[in-house]
């Protein structure tokens, strides 16, 4: 039995070792769950978009509700200018959500509990948003760091703070998701371990706690995917509509 609560995060190779030049790109359990999540998304949404009936069936309803949900989220936070980035944010939200949710099934691997995965996603968003900002506004995008209505004396300090906060966006975005996922799964593992160690006599208390925690973790899995997507929208909003 994997007793250490951290062993669930271990990555191991499935199948042969694959090398691309000097890099090891072997298929691992992490890769497996990325593929599984992507396939699940594609299958569900393909089924949901296959035929268009006036009265949607369950799959179609699911796909259309997700579509309108993400669409509304984007238009609420980033306005109508963010329309071209809809498919990216939709894929991002669905990918993170499905990875989180697949992680809730026992004996599976949570892709998003790895800092490298969330950091790559977050830095891609960060770089993309910065590039979009510079394309849309040229060097005027730098005005983002100069809030209006600040006394001149405080301006150097504020600009430095703004730049630091801007540069820390990918870190905060990635660490938020990764830490939530890791902490939740560790907690569940620890309480699961308590159930075993306390046995039939005292195991009921951590067991009930574990049940409650599972519900909470499912909520967190959804919420973190939502937060990830909505923060992306907010960053995109900064780049598209320069308000400062």
């Amino acid at each position: 039995m994997a007793a250490n609560p951290m062993t669930q995060f271990e990555v191991y190779r499935i199948g042969p070792e694959i090398k691309l030049g000097a890099f090891d790109i072997s298929f691992t359990n992490a890769s497996l769950f990325m593929v599984v999540s992507s396939l699940a998304i594609l299958i569900i949404f393909n089924l949901g978009s296959k035929k268009n009936s006036m009265l949607p069936n369950k799959m179609q309803l699911l796909a259309e509700l997700s579509y309108t949900f993400v669409s509304k989220m984007i238009s609420d936070t980033a306005g109508s200018k963010a329309k071209p980035y809809f498919s990216f944010i939709f894929s991002l939200f669905m990918f993170v959500l499905f990875c989180n949710m697949f992680g809730m099934i026992p004996y599976t691997f949570t892709v998003t509990s790895h800092i490298i995965v969330t950091f790559i996603l977050a830095s891609f968003i960060f770089i993309g948003v910065t590039v979009i900002g510079f394309i849309k506004h040229g060097f005027g995008y730098l005005k983002l760091f100069v809030p209006s209505g600040v006394p001149i004396v405080l301006l150097p300090l504020i600009v430095v703070i703004e730049i630091i906060s801007y540069l820390s966006r990918p870190i905060s975005l990635s660490v938020r998701l990764f830490a939530n996922m890791m902490a939740g799964h560790t907690m569940m593992k620890v309480f699961g371990g308590f159930v075993i160690s306390l046995g039939i006599v005292g195991g009921w208390l951590p067991l009930s706690f574990s049940v409650a925690l599972t519900g909470l973790e499912i909520l967190v899995a959804f919420l973190q995917a939502y937060v990830f997507a909505i923060l992306t929208c907010i960053y995109l909003n900064d780049a598209l509509n320069l308000h400062h």
Binding site: A3, D24, A30, F45, N46, S49, Y67, S91, V117, V201
Partner: protein
């Protein structure tokens, strides 16, 4: 008592938890860079494919479906609205027609009644006139007859009395004497016989 044992057992069990999690070298597997490149590669690959398929194939279809349904519903609503308006105007028309025909019927009834009354009245008038005329004519005739009657009766009376006298006594009596007697009688008793 049972409660106490229960909580004691929970409490003491914590001392043995160490056995459940054996000391292991490790810490966080996330910070082990062994498979970082692999994860980056597979993430890019799967997410890239996911993004491409969703954006090129699936999302446009869902969007088209939603649009189509929206427009269809809108169309249906519009059609229903139109039909409602149509039926309302039809109902109005129908009511108008009914009102109109009612009025017409009333008019016709009134007209015919008036006409009939008029007819009856005129006929009555002509009839009355005719009757009056007839009555006048008859009265005139009666008047003439009445005027002529005593003379004629006197004449007849004179003739018959002449005849009677001739038969009774066989002698011609003077015409003028008899007529004097009859005149005298008729003058005396005329009221009794003719109602003059």
């Amino acid at each position: 008592m049972i409660k106490k044992i229960f909580f004691q057992s929970i409490f003491f069990n914590f001392f043995f938890i160490k056995e459940v999690f054996p000391a292991e070298s490790g810490g966080m597997p996330q910070l082990n860079p062994e498979f970082w490149i692999s994860q980056i590669f597979w993430l890019t690959l799967t997410f890239g494919i996911l993004y491409l398929v969703l954006s090129k194939l699936i999302l446009p279809k869902i969007s088209a479906n939603l649009e189509l349904r929206k427009s269809q519903i809108q169309e249906n609503i519009e059609a229903a609205e139109k039909q409602r308006e149509d039926s309302e105007s039809k109902l109005k028309e129908y009511n108008d027609i009914i009102l109109k025909s009612k009025l017409e019927a009333k008019n016709i009834f009134k007209n015919t009644r008036d006409k009939v009354f008029k007819d009856i009245n005129s006929k009555k008038e002509t009839l009355d006139k005719q009757i009056d005329e007839e009555i006048k004519k008859a009265e005139k005739e009666i008047g003439i007859l009445k005027k002529g009657a005593p003379e004629k009766i006197n004449k007849i009376a004179i003739e018959t009395s002449l005849e009677l006298v001739k038969k009774l006594i066989g002698a011609e009596v003077n015409n003028s004497s008899i007529s004097a007697i009859v005149d005298d009688l008729s003058k005396r008793n005329g009221n009794k016989y003719y109602g003059n």
